[in-house]
Amino acid sequence: MGTLNIRGTKAIRVAYGEALAELGAERPDVVVLDADLAHATTTCVFGEKYPGRFFNLGIAEQNMMGVAAGLAISGLTPVASTFSIFGAGRAFEQVRNSICYANLNVTLALSHNGLTVGEDGGSHQSIEDISLMRSIPGMTVLVPCDAIEMRKALRAAIDHPGPVYIRVTRPPAPYFTEDDAPFTVGKANTLRPGADIAIIATGLMVYQALLAAEQLAQEDIEAAVLNMHTIKPIDRDAIIEAAGKTGRLITVEDHSVIGGLGSAVAEVLAEGSPARLVRMGLQDCFGQSGTPDALLEHYGLTARHIAENARKLVGDKQ
């Protein structure tokens, strides 16, 4: 544990499409919906293999959510995809009332979120989806950190009773988690131990957190790294334990600091175990066009920025 072992590069959305097509063979009850973004979300892989179980609803996300609800009521297991901004944003109330209020077994695997949407710009960079989805009673929120974890998240979501939101990301990204690493809904994975500070990251920011921890180790700062792949239900025990051990926490997410991982951790700390906390993410602002890497640099969401914050927090205490 502790050494970053990069085994390859693959977009999480590509892993999603592959995993979905695999599940299609095993699970005849799985049906897939998309809203004219099947090539971008990669549900087209499933659609080509199982055309009878694939429904393209056109550019009509609100209707798609209701159709998914109806398919779930009829006993099938729907997985619906579009971009997060449309699925979690535009169709929020359909997700709330048609799906979640009835506690239906619908998986929303929504892609293209955060700054890593890149060049399409701020209109398409959903930075509120985690906040919106976790606010709905009964909704589970999963944010896989790499292609390996994406496959596990999809299986977990389909087997999980009730609605699940999976945040699927767009750009090619390194994969580094182990094939046999556990994936339990609501249970954070500690990827690296450390007594000086704990970095709690989610999604693509987990990789940046691990890079930051490696830099810090060279300066004799031991940073723990927690992969918080489930934002709801949040792993309270893991947060309280990390706070108790280190007294200093950093959260990192490619999402607004309002309502996302940072808020979820702050809520636990405020009620359970006070500690110093720095929330890294979008600081109540929209993104803009640019390459994903340029945007992460511009908005301060790289390993270097995490390490800087960690040094400050550790220095403050000493």
């Binding site: 609800a69 109330e93 048609s98």
Partner: protein, 266 residues
Amino acid sequence: MTEAELQALCRIIRSDIIKMIGRVKSGHPGGSLSCTEILATLYFKEMLADPALPPEMRDKCILCKGHAAPALYTVLAHRGYFPREELLTLRQLGSRLQGHPDMKKTPGVDASTGSLGQGCSIAIGLALGARLKGTSQKIFAVVGDGEMQEGQFWEAMMSAAHFGLTNLTVILDHNGLQIDGANDDVMCLGNIKAKLQAFGFEVIEADGHDIGQLLAAYRKTTEKPKFILAHTVKGKGVSFMENQAGWHGKAPSAEETEQALAELEA
């Protein structure tokens, strides 16, 4: 049950609707009274709706205009899904009869609805599911005219035609009124028949209070998804409520309840 018996039952259903809303002082009488025959004919004549059947064997009815829950609950109670006495718990804390239909709580309710414009999409999912499973299950969606102003309604209509859902019947309870007044004054719906035909539906017009006409419309076979444009009267059966938008979501006083019941039971 004969058509005459069903006609008589509709009077009792209307009385029950008034009693429950009047007693608990909350609920939507106008639109419940306008869809009484539509729901009664579905559950007593047209649908496989015997509560003894397992849910997956029954036909499905989605009450898209969920505020007409008192009408649905009354029909379900008379059909045997739960005791008629339970109707008087409507909208009370802990009741299985929520202000708007909740499939988690109420036996016989096929989908949770009430947020307007969403129900037809659920019905389309059910129709696709029935087709995929190879069942002959029929899916009905009862919509209000006001909710046709929601964009999602038209998304749903487009997809019903696209998927060729001949197992789907959409029934419009067209009473012409919504909360703020007449449809035509609030947001004109235009030529409903022509619009639905253009969206790919077979449109059949019927008097929504005439059991024979409704049954004939349900039973007409079509090559396309079916849309029944049922002309109705908001507040039907209670003289002072008929054609009054003000009775959309207002409960009658004790005195008004007595008067309404006297008219219905005369």
